[in-house]
Every structure is written in structure tokens, then in C-alpha cells.
Symmetry: C3
Subunit: 379 residues, 3 copies
Amino acid sequence: MRRSKIEERTKQMAFLKNVWYCAGFSHELDDAKLLGRKLVGEHVLIYRTESGEAVAMSNVCPHRFAPLSEGHRYGDNVSCPYHGLEFNAEGQCVRNPNGDKGTLTDLKAPRVARLKSYPLEELWGILFIWMGKPEKADTSLIPDFSMTEERPGHRTVFGFHKLDAHYELAVDNLMDRTHVQFLHPRLNLGTDFRDDFERRYSTEQIGDEIWDYHCELNAPRMPLTAILWPEAPELMEYYFDVRWNAPGHMLLDAGSVAANTDRKIGSHTPGANMVTPIDEHSCYYFWNNCRDSNLDSAEADKGLQHGITDTFANEDGRMVAMCQEMMDGETDLLSMKPLLLPSDEAAVRARRVIARKLREEAEEEAREAADNGALEAAE
Amino acid sequence: MRRSKIEERTKQMAFLKNVWYCAGFSHELDDAKLLGRKLVGEHVLIYRTESGEAVAMSNVCPHRFAPLSEGHRYGDNVSCPYHGLEFNAEGQCVRNPNGDKGTLTDLKAPRVARLKSYPLEELWGILFIWMGKPEKADTSLIPDFSMTEERPGHRTVFGFHKLDAHYELAVDNLMDRTHVQFLHPRLNLGTDFRDDFERRYSTEQIGDEIWDYHCELNAPRMPLTAILWPEAPELMEYYFDVRWNAPGHMLLDAGSVAANTDRKIGSHTPGANMVTPIDEHSCYYFWNNCRDSNLDSAEADKGLQHGITDTFANEDGRMVAMCQEMMDGETDLLSMKPLLLPSDEAAVRARRVIARKLREEAEEEAREAADNGALEAAE
Amino acid sequence: MRRSKIEERTKQMAFLKNVWYCAGFSHELDDAKLLGRKLVGEHVLIYRTESGEAVAMSNVCPHRFAPLSEGHRYGDNVSCPYHGLEFNAEGQCVRNPNGDKGTLTDLKAPRVARLKSYPLEELWGILFIWMGKPEKADTSLIPDFSMTEERPGHRTVFGFHKLDAHYELAVDNLMDRTHVQFLHPRLNLGTDFRDDFERRYSTEQIGDEIWDYHCELNAPRMPLTAILWPEAPELMEYYFDVRWNAPGHMLLDAGSVAANTDRKIGSHTPGANMVTPIDEHSCYYFWNNCRDSNLDSAEADKGLQHGITDTFANEDGRMVAMCQEMMDGETDLLSMKPLLLPSDEAAVRARRVIARKLREEAEEEAREAADNGALEAAE
Ligand code: FES
Ligand code: FES
Ligand code: FES
């Protein structure tokens, strides 16, 4: 009986809660902006306080449910766009401009009103939000994306997209390198995909972290290599290594280097690829790309920015949305018994980690509920 | 058991039936127009007969459910746009052009076919429709909007909007004056809203009628006052008194008058503000505005017409639709346990009257069903 | 108990399965095209092999559900647009370009992967698909549309539309001739529809085939007759005879001939009118029109093509979509108790045949399930 209850609970919880999700980028909070974003089924408000701290809280005013992101800022406070309730950076209501004395100067506020506030961490230009119980938020669980931060000798470009598909379809896409030759012919070597220089790939799981390695050896130089590394030789090694952490954090450690070297000579372009559910049928895909070559080239900036944006909007994003549509409303891929290919190993391992973690969360919740029951009975 | 059945019935009936709703304006029936409108979940056809009477009936042809409002008029009859069944102003089918003799001249009509007809009253340029049992329609229950009728010394402008929100969210909006300074900065005094001249407000309930009084005393003249009353002094009193009757009838009795007078010197602009549900997720907002000053000014006509339209489309309508969206599909606001503020008194009283009336309708229906059962058993 | 189970099954099966549906036209498969189309709730891929045979299979890749119609052809094989799995014309997976040896030349394919394949017949330029059990597909059940085929002395034009309505509403529309004068005033005689020359109509049912006869005797020549038959006399006979076969196949046998002849002198324009469900709320309407007069006239081609397209898009299609909308989401017309008119005889007979066939399919399935159970028990 216990078991079936946990299974039911697991099913209800469509998304992991006690994990970090990407909520966007630091630069999105410039100019005192109030950023409203639906993440993991919840409406979230994010902004930067005057002291520079990024904070996150519910974007839903408890009065009549107006989106606070449409309101105004007064210092670190946000006033609701509808009737002006004012909340501080902890989400506490601190002012009701329409108090019961009938004048605007009445500062009496409903002290009981408090917005749900979310742990928010800002690292390497990326915003990470914790959607579960705040007391469980542990910043050591944030995957390392330091190698994608803009710093001397490195230049980073950014972007994000809304995809009309369940977030796991987007993770599948990013964990898989075999689609490149079919879905992205322009990114391919400009040769027929049946061509046949050496490729190597392998998958490795270390705890709950999954690595998918892929490289092309002794491959001819691609046209777009010239943008990143004008001095590239004719014989190249291209590598794309993907590191996954639950639920949707992928480091895409990629580079174009001289063939038969130790990968040090060439252009390195690691990027953070982070997928965050909006709801059961859509998700955000946040990405950055940090290069260590041709840094001051506006052409390289633009080429990467437009190239990645275009690829996602018209190729990957379009494809995962089409797959979602062919699924006729179903969001649980595995329930549709898909064919498993050897190349799916990384994606399937990721799905298994997510499934196990969902189960663990359900068990934990059941245990806590039981403990609370015991506590209450004892009192 | 009786109780739970009534509660169930109350829940099923999302909208009050035995009340008058605004269906539109008299001028919408000009030029023999067939007006098709979805009101309180039902498709309604409204038109004016040749003798001048406005009539309402189902807009759904009983044959294949074509919208009769797309058809043609022959005198007081309406013919269906699809196969030409003709209905008279009582909704009775009077002609089937495709009779069983196989010629067009066969006038045999299915006498059994009769459209549901609705009591419709036309008062002060406004159309009021009764969605409940016709025998219960009592015109004395129509709230008085005579003060908004165009007549010598008075000029009235009109408009309506479709709002993507449950009608009670629109009633909340109209019953609340505190949002003006936040949502309508242009309508405000052009000053920072923290400014601080005297405001007074109070709420009063007389039976099921609710009054919400609001005035600004010794306030500086607003820019837009000049349009209505070019001779306005520098020190003004602005009043906005709202009278509410179930389910969505609001008289907005407003004016701009000289400060410290008996409100007689100045410009008076009462308006009818009437909200009618379309379905659970949308509603119509009908409004008029009747002024007693600057009557012949096309600028005043246009200023009011455009100003009110613009305010509703871009400010109130946009806001209630955003709130509805933040509620993620929920339409029953109270089930979401909103924060109650002192300024909500009028809106909350209105919701309570609606809730009680819904319960009364459910009880009445249960009683009638029981009586009918007893009657049948006796026969 | 058996009975109620069959009724439940009948209800679940919204559409007949063991029948032929129109899937499109032969010319849609020109230029090696991969045609993806949703038919009777299933995603179907149709194409022509190099030997000229038209084949149909599931359009959903079993790997990640990408639409194969977005992929590429290699001879008679189709490769998935996402990860390149290749399927042959029987739907068998024959190649995985991303095999487990890690190179592109690995041809190992998951032999277990096989797309559902559908019997497809190509007759008279029309594609017919069988959505039920393949072993039951019997080509003798395809209704005869040979008279609509382009051949010496005959010229055929084609078209199709997507209608936002349940397919039976479209069948109703096509089985009914009485709407012409109301919905298509341009197709009428340019006279007031109350005019009164002789019309005759009758309905006949032969087994499960229904004929609806309609003609106008001694009618004045219509303007559009001149396009088809420039030498037409002033006194005409117009006939429209509709033959229906389940579920949505209608031969519209129409012509404009000299009055009081044996129908041999004049212009004959039989057409296939075929309605295929997409899902519960939409359908395809496929049509052709084959004339035996004025064959080389580009004006006649264009007039028919544009005229029929325009009529369906703006008149019939618009009307059935409006009716569907007035039904507020209900798709089962009869459950809404529509008024029946004498002119509905043909359409009602068609609905009764469909309902009986749905019941028969449910019974057959129940019987087969029972037999299988007995078989399994015996083993
Ligand atoms: S909705 Fe925010 S203060 Fe009213
Ligand atoms: S739908 Fe109105 S007459 Fe047929
Ligand atoms: S979805 Fe078709 S091969 Fe992967």
C-alpha cells in the first residue's frame, strides 16, 4: 500500500523540485528590470536589489493575482501594478497604499501577506533557482559552468528560446550527437553524410553525472571553422563532449583543434546548455558559448549568436516541437515505448536518473508527512 | 443529503439565471441588423421588429445548428442561412422552403420547431435580457440607469469590449477605486501617486444593493477636466460613486465639481457599466457615459469615447486578462484564497450577494423539482 | 452485460476502421514527394516507389516520433529527418546510420523496428487507404469513381480543403441539395429563391448505398452554364444526383442538359466528393470534377477550380465550421436532438448506416477477442 501511494505521488510530481534550474542570465536583470518568467509550473519574479543581489519570489500578487513584474520598483521594493501593494526583496508585504483610514498616507500593510520566495544563486553570469524546499537548497549541487564565464582571454555570447515541447525531449536532443548530420547539414562538413572519416563516441556515468564523448578524427576543415580560428590547418579534430546533470544541465565542451595534437592547439568553445520546464508542454532552452580564440571579432560574435539561434529556432526547436505534436498530447515519452538505439545510451541514462530522483523525492515527502503525523500525534 | 445536493447544484450553475443581464445597446439593432451574441453561455439572436420592438431568441437553428444571425430577414421573420427555415419574432418556425412535396412553394413548416425565446427589455438605450425562466422575468428588477440616457441637456457616448477573464474579475475591477492611481496614471492628477490631498471613501449595503463612495476633496484641476468643463476652477472635488446590483450592473456616478460646493456646479458624467459573462473564461463589458456639459463638443465626444475605450482595452481589460492568466485556468477566485484588503469591502460584499443568490436559485430549483415530483406522484 | 460492453466499445470507436477512406490524389505524389497527412486520427506517410506503386505507412518514427515526411528519400527508402533511421517501402527499418560500432558505415539496423503499414489502392487518380485490419482490406469495397477519371474526351480538375468540423457535418452538407439556394446564391439561377419552376427530388437506398436525386426541369439557363457549354439552349435541365457509400464517399453526378431530352445532349460533370476525418473536430474534403465539354478551355478549368474552391472555403466550409462552433464542442449531432426535415432523408439514412456499421465493428471485435480468449485458454 505504501508503495502504490509513492507511485501515485511520483506520477503527480511531473518535475523534480529539490534541484537547481536555470532561470536566465545575469544580464537580463540590468537597468533595474523586473523579470517575470514561468518556470517549472510557477510564476516567478526575479530582479536585482540595489546592493547587487539577485532575488526571486512569486510573481503573483496575493491580492488579485496581478503579475508583479508589470509593476514599479521603489528602491528594493516592488509595487503591484494593480492596487499598489508593496513587497520588499524578501517578498514581505510592507505597504498598502489604500489603508483603512481612507488616505494614501496610511502605511498599514497586511503583515500576513508574504510572497513565496525562492533561493536564487548567480554564478558565471547564470541565474540558478531552487524550486523545492528552501531549507534543502545546497549551492554545492550547482553544476560547474565556470569554464563558460567571460573573462580575460575568453568571450561569451548568450541566448535563449522557448520550445513547444516537454523539457525531456529537449534534453534528448542535446544529449544526442547523431542528429547533427541529419538535422544540421550546414554544421556538417559540407559533405554527404555517408562519408566516412573516423568518429569515436562513448558514454560514461559517474554517480548521477553522465558524460557523452564524441569526436571526429582527421576530419577535413569545415567552412565555419575559419570564423573561430582563421589559422586552422586542413586536418582537424572536432570534439563535442556533453556532461549532463539532473534535470536539464548540460555542459557542451566542444572545440576545433589541430588533428593529432593534445587538443591544446585550436579553438575551444565550451557552452552551458540548460533546459528548464515551463509546463508539461513547453520549456526554455538557455545557452551560452565561451570561446578562447578570435576574441575581438564582431563577425565571430555575430556568427555564433546568429548561428546558434538560427539552428535552435529552425532545426532543433522545430524538430522537438514536431515530435511533441506527433505524440498527440502525450508528454511521457517512455510510456509510448520508443525504440531504443545504442546512441540513446546517454539520454536513457539521464531519464533513468530523473525517474529515480522523482521517486526519491516522493519517498522523502511521504516520510516527512509520516514524521509530521507522528509529531502531531505525540503533541 | 438534501444539503449536499443543493451545494452540488449551486456549483454546477456557474452563473445566476433569474436576473437581467445587459445584452448590448439599442443602436446596435439599427438597419434591421441581426445581432448574434453569446451571453451567459448561450447563443442569442437579437433584432428589432418592424413595429420597433426588440426581441431575443436562440441563435441556433434547431435543424443543423447554423447561426441564424448569418441569415436573412423577411419582414419580422428570419430565415436560416443554411437551409432557409423561417422563424417569426416569437421564435416559431413558420416556413420550410424545402417541403415534402418537392417544390419551393410548399409552405409546410415543422410547427414543432420553436426557438427558445428570451424576455428582452429596452430601457434608456440599453438592452436587458432575462436568461432564466421567462415567467419569473420581472422588469421592476432592472436597475435604474435612466440618468445615463441621452436627452435634452445630456449627451451620451457608448462602447463595449470583450474581456478574456471571468466576469467577476471585471466586477472586482469596477467596484474598486484604488487601482486608478496605479493602473491609470493618465487619469490621475498628473502627480506622483504618493501625493496627499484628502480622499474619502466608504461602502454601504442596502439590501442587495451596494454603494461604494469615493471622493477627492480640494484636489488640483486635472488636465482632462478642461475637456468636459472648460471653465473649471483650480480647486476641485472629484467624486466617483459606484452602485452595484447583481450580477454585474454598476452605475458609475461620477463628476468634476467646484470644491466646497453642493456638487451642483460642474460637470456630471454618470455612466452605466455592465458586465455580462460569455462563458467561464470571458465576458462582455458594456459602458455608456452621459455628460451634462460641453454637449456639442465633438472633442468631448471623441475624448470620452477614445479615452474610455483605450483605458479598458489597454489597462483594465489587459490587467484582468493577465490576472486570469496568472490563475492558470482557475475561475473561482475565492477558492484561491486571495488576500482581502479593506478596500475590497464593496467587491467582497458583491461576491457574497452573488453566492447567496446562486444558492437561492439552487434551492428554488430543488423545491420546484420536488413539487413536480409530488405532482407527478399524485396524478 | 455483453450488450453494454459492445455499446461502450461502439462509443469509443469514433470512426469506422474497416472501410476505405480517401487519402488524397495520385498527382500529390509527383516528384518523389513524401506526403504526411493525419487521417482518421493517425499520422500517415504516403509516397510512390520507383516502380510506381503508391505505399502508405505510419509517419511516426518509432525512435523519437519525428515525422518521416520531413525526411529524405534514398530510392524506395525513407530516412528519418532526426537521426536517420532508414525504412523501406514495407515500413521495415533497414539501416541505422549510428550503429553501435561508432562509425557511420555500420549498417546494423534494429530489425525489430517496423512501421505500421496501410493497404493503399490507387484508382482513377485517387488514393484510397484502409485504416482497419490489413487482412480485411477488400478492394471490391471501393466505390466506383471511374466516371471521374481524366481520359480522352474528358478533363478532370481537383482540389481539397481542411474543414474545422466533424466529418459527418460535411457529409450532411454534401448529401443535401436544399442549401444551394441559400448558401450559394451565385450558383443559383440568379433569381429570387422563391421562384418556382419545377424541381423534383427523391431518395433511394439500395443495401448500404444511398442515392439522392435532384433535378430542375425547364429552368432558365444559368450564367455559369456558358463556361461549360457555350452552345447551351435557353431552356435547360439541371440534375444533381448524389450517390453515397460509407463513410464519406459521394459521387456527385451532375450535368447541364437541354430540357426535355434524354440527358445526352449537354455538359456532364460527375465528381468524386470524399470526406475523411482528421480527428473529432476536423476533416478533409477531397473533390474532383470531370467534364466532357469545352475540354481545352483554360477558362473552364480555372472557372471550375476557382469556383469549387471558393464555394467550399467561403460557403460550405465556413458554414459547417460555424455549425460546429454553435455546438459548443459537441461532435455527436444526433445527441443534440436536431430537427429532422423531409429533405434530410438521405443524410439521416447515411448516419444510420454509419451507426449500424460502427456497431457491427464493435461486435466483430468483441467476438474476435472472445475467440482469442478461447484459443488462449485451449492452448
Ligand atoms: S492585485 Fe496586487 S495589489 Fe491588488
Ligand atoms: S440549419 Fe437552419 S435550416 Fe438547416
Ligand atoms: S526520431 Fe527517427 S531516427 Fe530518431
